[in-house]
């Protein structure tokens, strides 16, 4: 997968070089102010509708929860209660009394580790299942059953096996996110056009070259679909797993806040969880876009 990526770097560098002569041809260009106005309009069209919706929802929330005796705090209360957490995410009073940054980074580290392992193992197994009919016949039924097991059902078993929270949480991430990666990679490998296989045969690529020069680039769009589903699932699983294993982590932060009846802190944490999940998804999608540019059939 390295090879196309480096090529992209070279490509990405060229537009800047070719753009220069275009700038020189000023006569056909609209005035700068007009360009800025157009850009501002385009941004506004994208940004204003969600802002309006968010404002309205916040207003409704405020109105519903403001009356005395409501179970959940209104947004104004949430902000007042969590101001310190928002403004200082980096404090560390020892133990689990840390700023949100530390909780989030602990969760992200677990996800990074578990997800990397599942990406490597998932792509490898996917290639095996996609390439070999016998591996598919043997493993596919197993995968189809295992992938329906909910992430948390694995946790007691992994706690029994590892006797420690940290590796258990990582294992839960791994086992949750690996299935879509395996299945999508296998589909991608199986869908490599016969033409590409014929080309490889005529050129006499060896299996290793076939893997890196044909298989991975050809299956890359499918692989990235799997990777994207996988990162979403692993972020779903980590919060649930951390609630049970305890220690530092956003999941346990939420559970701890519930136990101390800090409902506002729960709401703040949910915001962060949502935003980070969104960023992770975009990150993988963006990476996929860069790596798979040009792999679409023409």
């Amino acid at each position: 997968m390295n090879m196309p990526a480096t090529k992209m770097d070279i490509e990405a560098a060229t537009p800047a070089g070719t753009a220069a002569p275009v700038v020189a041809m000023t006569p056909k260009r609209p005035p700068r102010s007009e360009t800025y106005a157009r850009m501002a309009r385009e941004t506004a069209v994208r940004v204003i509708p969600p802002l309006v919706v968010i404002a309205l929802l916040t207003l409704v929330w405020e109105l519903v929860c403001r009356r005395a005796g409501s179970a959940l705090p209104p947004p104004s209360r949430v902000f007042k209660d969590t101001k310190e957490l928002i403004l200082d995410p980096f404090f560390d009073h020892g133990g689990i009394d840390k700023g949100l940054f530390w909780h989030l980074s602990a969760s992200l580290q677990r996800v990074a580790l578990g997800y990397s392992l599942s990406a490597i193992a998932g792509i490898a197994l996917g290639v095996l299942v996609g390439q070999s009919v016998w591996a598919m016949r043997g493993l596919d039924p197993l995968f189809q059953v295992l992938r329906t097991i909910p992430p948390l059902a694995w946790l007691p078993l992994s706690l029994a096996a590892f006797r420690d929270g940290q590796p258990s949480a990582i294992f839960v991430i791994f086992i949750t996110s690996i299935w879509p990666i395996i299945i999508n990679t296998a589909v991608g490998i199986r869908n490599i056009p016969q033409d590409y296989r014929n080309v490889a045969a005529v050129v006499q690529l060896n299996p290793l070259e076939f893997f890196s020069k044909i298989m991975i680039p050809a299956a890359a769009p499918y692989i990235f679909t799997g990777l994207r589903i996988g990162i979403g699932l692993s972020w779903l699983a980590i919060v649930a797993a951390e609630m049970l294993i305890g220690g530092v982590g956003i999941g346990f932060f939420i559970w701890d806040a519930w136990n101390s009846s800090h409902i506002s802190e729960i709401i703040l944490a949910l915001f962060y969880v949502g935003i980070i999940g969104f960023v992770l998804d975009r990150l993988i999608a963006g990476l996929g876009k860069i790596v798979t540019r040009g792999t679409a059939p023409n």
Binding site: Y196, N198, V202, V203, A218, T295, N298
Partner: protein
């Protein structure tokens, strides 16, 4: 006649479960070095299967392919194929597509710089050097097929196999590309075997035309020599009586004696 490429009693039977279909029956053909031979027949007669057998992509059920008196039964760059739908790898540039084969074939015999020069030389032959950094999706259908030809030529094949190379192109582009292939054949003296279903194309380009009967159990029905002097000019041939006679012969074979019944 010295046999350079020899197809020796090739039969091909496809088996699917209990059902067997005999696609090719007793195909015998010898091709001389430097010869341009076309195989023509109705669709479904197994001509593409025959080309795949020669390329080594499919195995013959019985019989075999001899190249310079040695049996060949696996694919290799000595029988480079220009595929019908160009089959360029879309994630590589034009240059890299050609380079892929060159790097494998000349890994030991040419230095890095020589390989680079050789790729550019072959792109120049098909007039595609200007687009070397473009991706296949950024060039036209005719250009893709040119690159496909350059990729095959760059492997210095003993026999160049063309699988309906102009089938997917519009008439004008096709004529242009046919002229290019003719010029390349003239210049490089390659041995070329082309699959086609276009009568004019076969007569214009070939030294001999191999006409296949309809499948199943397709055989070689007739082999026609095309005694036209080279270099051939498309416009002059339109009025040449030899050309018209050859064309007539092929048309008669295809549309009278071996009419494709299913197409009617």
């Amino acid at each position: 006649m010295t046999a350079y490429l020899k197809l020796d009693h090739i039969d091909k039977i496809f088996t699917r479960g209990a059902a067997t279909t005999e696609v090719l029956k007793d195909i015998n053909l010898t091709i001389e070095k430097g010869e341009y031979v076309s195989i023509i027949g109705h669709s479904g007669c197994g001509k593409s299967t025959l080309l795949n057998i020669i390329a080594g992509l499919t195995g013959a059920t019985t019989g075999g392919v001899l190249l310079e008196n040695r049996e060949v039964n696996s694919p290799g760059p000595d029988r480079a194929v220009v595929f019908q739908n160009h089959s360029l790898l879309p994630w590589l540039t034009v240059y890299e597509n050609v380079r892929l084969g060159v790097d494998k074939v000349f890994a030991r015999t040419k230095t890095r710089a020589e390989r680079d020069a050789w790729v550019m030389h072959n792109l120049n032959l098909v007039q595609m050097a200007h687009a070397k950094d473009k991706r296949p999706s950024e060039v036209s259908g005719g250009m893709k097929q040119r690159v496909g030809i350059a990729r095959a030529l760059a492997m210095e094949p003993k026999v160049l196999l063309l699988d309906e190379p102009f089938g997917a192109l519009d008439a004008l582009t096709r004529a242009h590309l046919q002229d290019s292939v003719m010029a390349l054949h003239q210049k490089l003296g390659n041995t070329i075997l082309m699959i086609t279903h276009d009568v004019d194309e076969a007569v214009l380009l070939s030294d001999r035309i191999v006409m296949m009967t309809n499948g199943p159990s397709a055989r070689i029905g007739e082999v026609l020599e095309v005694p036209l002097a080279r270099p051939r000019k498309r416009l002059d041939l339109a009025t040449s009586s030899t050309y018209l006679k050859c064309r007539q012969r092929v048309l008669e074979f295809l549309y009278e004696r071996h009419r494709f019944v299913e197409a009617a």
